[in-house]
């Protein structure tokens, strides 16, 4: 194969990706909306104080699992004014290496917000989103190391000896749909997933979550080890919101 300048090759193959007037306008628009520096410093200080207060609160509540309200707080988005459902009728969710359970939901008749708690069955097994890779910065797990470091570094320090990649897809009426997903690694190594998706219905809403696991494939550096591939379901029924 003929040797070519890699940069020249890449520029040619990426010729469809260009900085546009739209990009420029978006940047200038944001810059134009920035507050003056002094105000920004005050806001930063206030944010730091608020963060400290929040961290203290989180430390106190460390033993409690995250629910939809915690994710809403993280996003800075208020929940609809309907009760949070915590006793969710459900079945399944039992895999050979982990269990999945719906722990809270808020459904206003249009949008479903739910949390699922994923619990490893083995001690020292860490569950992770399957899209993560061990050489990614540890911040991807909402964790930190004094010197930065990767997820692999953190796992070693935290004492986990095994990892399992997990992907959970919600389905309505047997069909996949677009959804928003977020996660929170709990203090005990289990993790809580948050889902948000459209769910318009008058009666109870049946949601099926398809849970898939993979082992870590060191050679391919990703969660694609089919030897630990397992598929199982969790069925949940959400109660319609009460009429005002």
């Amino acid at each position: 194969m003929m040797m070519r300048d890699p940069k020249e090759l890449l520029d040619r193959q990426l010729s469809g990706v260009n900085w546009t007037q739209g990009d420029r306008r978006a940047v200038l628009c944001t810059i134009g909306k920035e507050k003056p520096v002094m105000k920004k410093q005050v806001v930063t200080l206030l944010a730091a104080v608020m963060m400290l207060v929040l961290l203290m609160g989180v430390a106190v509540a460390a033993t409690r699992l995250w629910g939809v309200q915690d994710f809403a707080d993280r996003f800075g988005e208020p929940l609809p004014t309907v009760p949070v459902q915590e006793a969710i009728p459900q079945s399944g969710g039992d895999g050979s290496e982990m269990t999945v359970a719906a722990t809270s939901s808020v459904w206003d008749g249009e949008t479903v917000r739910m949390t699922l708690h994923c619990q490893p069955k083995a001690e020292n097994l860490l569950l992770m989103e399957a899209c993560l890779q061990l050489d990614m910065p540890v911040r991807n797990l909402d964790r930190d190391l004094p010197e930065g470091g990767t997820i692999a570094d953190w796992i070693a320090q935290a004492g986990f000896t095994d990892v399992l990649g997990v992907a959970i897809e919600p389905m309505l009426n047997g069909a996949y749909m677009p959804y928003r997903v977020a996660w929170h690694l709990e203090e005990d190594g289990s993790y809580t997933l948050y889902y948000e998706f459209d769910g318009v219905a008058d009666g109870p809403l049946d949601v099926r979550f398809q849970c898939v696991t993979w082992g870590w494939d060191a050679a391919r550096e990703s969660f694609c080890d089919d030897a630990r591939n397992e598929v199982f379901d969790l069925h949940c029924t959400l109660t319609p919101p009460e009429a005002p």
Binding site: M1, M2, M3, R4, P6, K7, L9, L10, D11, R12, Q13, L14, S15, G16, V17, N18, W19, D23, R24, A26, V27, L28, T30, I31, E34, P36, V37, M38, K40, E129, A130, C131, Q133, D135, M136, P137, R139, N140, G148, T150, A167, E169, P178, Y179, R180, V181, A182, W183, E221, S222
Partner: protein, 170 residues
């Protein structure tokens, strides 16, 4: 050397110049690292916004381009961290990137890079696309030089496996 102070009118003009000069480079770098056009667009814009905010702190200790690329790489890492926040798109495949078809006999380098693991992709993009030396990459990524060198060797090996006959030693 500049003294630390807040953004001013000159800074906005400066950022316009930077966008003009490096906008496309930054966007392509983000595209290669993130493998997602929409996220790359956001990351590239965010890079220049962050650059504008920290122009006052830039003391010329490295080249303007290296400084900007460091912001871009860190922004991409932030995006990867919060990638869960976007609508379902967990396994974006390189086929979805707006890549031009390689010319006959030309290796599909961009696609091969997009298929590399995240860590390898980062160093190979900085080496091949930004043409930074291993030392500059180590400084930019704040990683030990030997780590960067071994990552480069590993990534090049993978590229060679994917691109038959590819023997670039850059």
């Amino acid at each position: 050397m500049r003294f630390a102070q807040g953004p001013c009118r000159d800074d906005t003009e400066k950022i316009e110049t930077l966008m003009e000069t490096y906008g496309t480079q930054v966007k392509r770098l983000c595209c290669l690292i993130l493998q997602d056009m929409s996220l790359a667009e956001d990351a590239a814009q965010e890079t220049f916004i962050k650059a504008w905010r920290s122009l006052a702190k830039f003391r010329g200790e490295c080249s303007e381009r290296t400084w900007l690329m460091r912001i871009a790489v860190n922004t991409c890492r932030d995006v990867q961290r919060t990638a869960w926040f976007r609508r379902m798109d967990r396994r974006v495949t390189p086929e979805e990137l707006p890549l031009a078809a390689p010319e006959p006999g030309e290796p599909a380098l961009a696609e091969a890079i997009a298929r590399l693991p995240a860590g390898d992709r980062e160093v190979i993009v900085l080496r091949y696309y930004q043409q930074l030396s291993p030392g500059e990459i180590a400084e930019l990524l704040r990683q030990p030089l030997n780590t960067v060198k071994s990552r480069l060797v590993r990534a090049k090996k993978k590229l060679k496996q994917t691109l038959e006959g590819w023997n670039d030693d850059a």
